[in-house]
Symmetry: C2
Subunit: 356 residues, 2 copies
């Protein structure tokens, strides 16, 4: 295992975008972290270099067989100019879980967090300051062997790139509209649903495109076997408040375990609320709605933190929740979680790590 | 749509491997075909260039969301030194079907076949001559937009690379052993199973790895819903001969429609055999075996053409077929099909196209 990180600083600095004009994932900082894997050396040549193109032969496995994994987390700048990371160790655990499923060698999570901190520190000036902005961190692994056989690659490249991102909610937190998908399937038990791998996202594009033509911003996936049980939204886990109980689908092997989901479960329990992780059918949600018991629904993920859901489109019917307004729990979770991330709320769970 | 193909020949020629030492997919010829897609220009800048690395920013979508498709076909050299392609229009149709599922713009199949022929003609000296060898042709499309949002890429690159490949059967056609997978799932109805996209192969690696540790060369996938019905093998479709009837699983949306599968169905019908495409459970195969009615089993695909199956491992039991020997139909199909491909057998179905 490599422990030394070689640093080459960029001679030129790119112009930084205005805080107010930030989009998601279009602009990248001056540096990146890279390390390589080979069967004899393991992970080696850890280095921070200027952000620059990757050059690979067209036969490189990454262009053919989708054996990729990735993560997504954020660095936040506090009012007193500290830089905070939120539970990065959870992302590293999940990355190794994805690695396991995709036959990619395990990484040393502690070492990668150290590398990530050094990288963020070097590009600290890129972290935007405006309300709701942050630095999105994208660790990813690609197979680099030059070979067209269908087999795990023998060589890999691990990289971390950084992108300053704007507020998810330009005009404050507000509810989204979700299409309940009844034709396409994202993942199935025994597949790769619990891993963060490219193929899961590639397979979701078509449904997403069709939903957005109908005016829905994301799709809600149902299970691949019976198309009955709720799984998750495009890039968020999902929660419902039904008659006082907060419910989220249990981890069944085909949904991703969100770091936000995990944090919210802890917060809700801490607040003494009734929470359950269990099988939940769309029909149950629909019946609750009919009986006036569907109180709130929200998605959870690193990008939006909490995304209140104002409407579902399900079997040719519109299900409106809380009159299309942000619910009480959604709001409280959003304020508390973003407060912890931004250092304005007490970090009672010890979730935050400072980048020095 | 682009119609002109720009040609830049390589100044140096790489050394060609010995015919007898060819592996699959490790060595590539001197040239490649490339064209790019942008929303304003469509597919443009079609060109044949020296085989060389691709340079992409680390934020290029191909490294993150697996929105890739590919094809696989072969060029064969005949005894009188002609170069033949086998049903390339079927590969182009399938590529467009994959494109459709993956939200990638359609290509003009006729134009690509024309480009492919020019490329193969330029690198004609690379086509090996020994028995069973050929030139493997790999068309593929990658998303090239620099963006981390989960959405279809706006820019793409289409490429064709060529690799001289050895005989699949070094010591003549012989049966393989297959593990019937009962835990992992490759694809499910509503997913991407019928498309030739990276994610399908990435998700298969783990099962493949575990099967090969147990001494089985490939896995047989069952349907993702009930894990009961037979789908296909790693990179082959599958056929059984049961009590005189030749059966292959029907196209149900989760299996790939092989060009070889399609050709074999046509040949068998032409020979007047009883053939059906239908739902087929592993239990039915097992019962046929118990009753002594399981006469043959074989996989079909571009790589091996016909791969007779000598043994299945199913629910802790070994199912031996035809005493582990190549069956009569398997042998006849193999000889006829490779004969048509190599120009030694009459091309009664008009499947072969010459590269001039
Ligand atoms: C499919 C999917 N589900 C859920 C999530 C939420 O996970 P997290 O809370 O760790 O961002 C994400 C986003 O990362 C995702 O891509
Ligand atoms: C999953 C899968 N099924 C079947 C096949 C067989 O298709 P073809 O006969 O066109 O090679 C292949 C190989 O290309 C494949 O990858």
């Amino acid at each position: 295992m490599t422990t030394k990180i070689d640093i080459t600083l960029s001679e030129t600095k790119k112009e930084k975008p205005e805080s107010g004009q930030l989009e998601f994932g279009r602009v990248f900082t001056d540096h990146m972290f890279v390390m390589d894997y080979s069967p004899t050396k393991g992970w080696h040549d850890a280095r921070i270099t200027p952000y620059e193109p990757i050059s690979l032969n067209p036969s490189s496995m990454v262009f053919h067989y989708g054996q990729t994994v990735f993560e997504g987390l954020k660095a936040y700048r506090t009012e007193d100019d500290k830089v905070l990371l939120f539970r990065p160790e959870k992302n590293m655990q999940r990355l190794n879980l994805s690695n396991e499923r995709l036959c990619i060698p395990q990484i040393d999570g502690d070492f990668v967090i150290e590398a990530l901190k050094q990288l963020v520190a070097i590009d600290k000036d890129w972290i935007p300051t405006a309300e709701g902005t942050s630095l999105y961190i994208r660790p990813f692994i690609i197979p680099t062997e030059y070979y067209l056989g269908v087999a795990p690659s023998k060589f890999y490249r691990f990289m971390i790139i950084l992108s300053p991102v704007g507020s998810y909610y330009k005009e404050g937190i507000h509810p989204v509209k979700i299409f309940v998908e009844n034709q396409y399937v994202r993942a199935v038990a025994g597949g790769t649903g619990k891993a963060k791998t490219g193929g899961n996202y590639a397979s979701s594009l078509k449904a997403q495109e069709e939903a957005s033509k109908k005016g829905y911003s994301q799709v809600l996936w149902l299970d691949g076997v019976e198309k009955k049980y709720i799984e998750e939204v495009g890039s968020m886990n999902i929660f419902f408040k039904i008659n006082g109980e907060v419910v989220t689908p249990e981890l069944n092997g085909s949904i991703l375990e969100g770091v936000t989901r995990n944090s919210i479960l802890k917060m809700l329990s801490h607040w003494g609320m009734v929470v359950s992780e269990r099988k939940l059918s769309m029909e149950e949600v629909y019946q609750a709605y009919k009986q006036g018991l569907l109180e709130e629904a929200f998605g959870t993920g690193t990008a939006a933190v909490i995304s209140p859901i104002g409407e579902f489109y399900y079997n040719d019917e519109k299900i409106t929740i809380n009159d299309g307004e942000t619910g009480e729990i959604s709001k409280k979770l959003y304020d508390t979680l973003t407060g912890i991330q931004k250092g304005t709320h007490e970090d009672i769970f010890n979730w935050v790590t400072e980048v020095k």
